[in-house]
């Protein structure tokens, strides 16, 4: 528990901090809560067109408002799932490519590295260039990236589970209504 003196000092210090002042600082701070953008609404023109096209395919010709509603929910959830999967692939790819992986090793053993460095000191001469050891394959880098990203992927999986639940329910409703109407759609 902070003492009264510490609390007073904290308050005094806090008054000095008034947040970002410059336009650039404010611009940056306004994106503080932004992580991966999965919660933003994506009702842009392009996705509306795709949703509309999916709905048309699901319930071709039907004017049942319930059916149209659930088909639209299913279509939007389908696009949401695709978006989340794309984000997952992107972050795995990014981590595999630019992640904090160790640089390619130049020596097979520490002793060899020591010998090399010693020879540089003892006998300054032109040495053969060192070829790096084989770097890990793309699959190995991706596996390492996934291992490092597991906590982040867990969060994405939670988003995905929600989108999937919505998609599953909506498509189930569509199926039910289509069955009822005996409306087999192509």
């Amino acid at each position: 528990m902070a003492s009264a003196r510490q609390i007073a000092a904290n308050r005094k210090n806090a008054r000095k901090s008034t947040g970002p002042r410059t336009r650039a600082g404010k611009q940056r701070a306004c994106r503080n809560a932004y992580r991966h953008g999965l919660t933003i609404q994506t009702d842009n023109g392009e996705s509306c067109d795709v949703v509309e096209s999916l709905v048309r395919r699901m319930v071709a010709g039907s004017t049942d408002q319930d059916l149209l509603h659930w088909a639209a929910v299913a279509a939007r959830a389908h696009l949401e799932l695709a978006r989340i999967r794309q984000v997952k692939c992107d972050i795995i790819g990014r981590m595999a490519q630019y992640g904090a992986l160790e640089p390619a090793a130049l020596f097979r053993a520490r002793a060899a590295e020591m010998r090399y460095l010693k020879s540089l000191v003892d006998k300054p001469r032109k040495l053969k260039p060192i070829a790096p050891l084989p770097i890990p394959s793309e699959a190995e880098r991706e596996a390492e990236a996934v291992q490092r990203l597991l906590p982040e992927l867990r969060k994405l999986n939670r988003y995905e589970a929600r989108a999937h639940a919505s998609w599953d329910r909506a498509l189930g409703e569509v199926s039910l209504r289509v069955s009822k109407c005996d409306l087999r759609l192509d």
Binding site: A60, L81, A143, R158, D168
Partner: protein, 188 residues
């Protein structure tokens, strides 16, 4: 686009998300085999089929990663084993042995002899690597379970849809999806 998906309108639902190391042809093979097996009859079935394909591909990906994660844990596993066995040796020498084990035949023989002295074999390196990766593997296994349950649920829906037996989703779907969400929240 493969022959089974000759309708450009289906592009949107069969969109593929591949990693750099993943093969386009293997994905197409999985998609074709699944479509051949399910033979979707209408657009709703196409959407279910697409979701099954996505899930199956992710399961294949995760299984591949599981074996790669164990493989990459072999070096630290050997280091750990040697530290336990050769407590008197310098840490630097042990790390050196572990580093060279995978690239130098002589060192491999030497380490093999050390392991044998303690009644161990190279299989123990794999076992130790597995032990060290257990946390990550458990996480991946949980995801595999979720994906498996989803696939089974979708297949059930597809069967009911074909038989004209579709039930209101609030009567049955809640269970699986809610369990999945509850599980996700519990893990977090």
């Amino acid at each position: 686009m493969n022959s089974l998906i000759n309708d450009p309108g289906l592009d949107a639902i069969y969109e593929e998300n591949l990693l750099v190391s993943e093969s386009q042809s293997r994905y197409s093979a999985l998609r074709n085999a699944t479509l051949e097996w399910l033979k979707p009859r209408d657009f709703i079935e196409q959407m279910w089929a697409a979701e099954i394909i996505q899930g199956e591909w992710e399961m294949l990906r995760l299984r591949r990663f599981k074996s790669l994660i164990i493989t990459s844990a072999r070096r630290p596993a050997l280091q750990n084993l040697l530290h336990l066995l050769l407590q008197d040796s310098a840490s630097k020498d042990i790390d050196d042995l572990a580093d060279r084990f995978f690239s130098n035949k002589d060192v491999r023989r030497k380490v093999g002899a050390i392991l044998r002295n303690f009644g161990l074999t190279e299989a123990n390196i794999d076992a130790e690597a597995f032990r060290q990766s257990l946390g990550d593997l458990a996480e991946i296994n949980r995801r595999l379970d979720e994906l498996g349950s989803r696939r089974d649920r979708i297949l059930q829906r597809l069967e009911d849809h074909r038989a004209g037996l579709a039930t209101p989703p609030y009567l049955d779907q809640g269970e699986g999806n809610d369990r999945e969400l509850r599980h996700q929240n519990a893990v977090d």
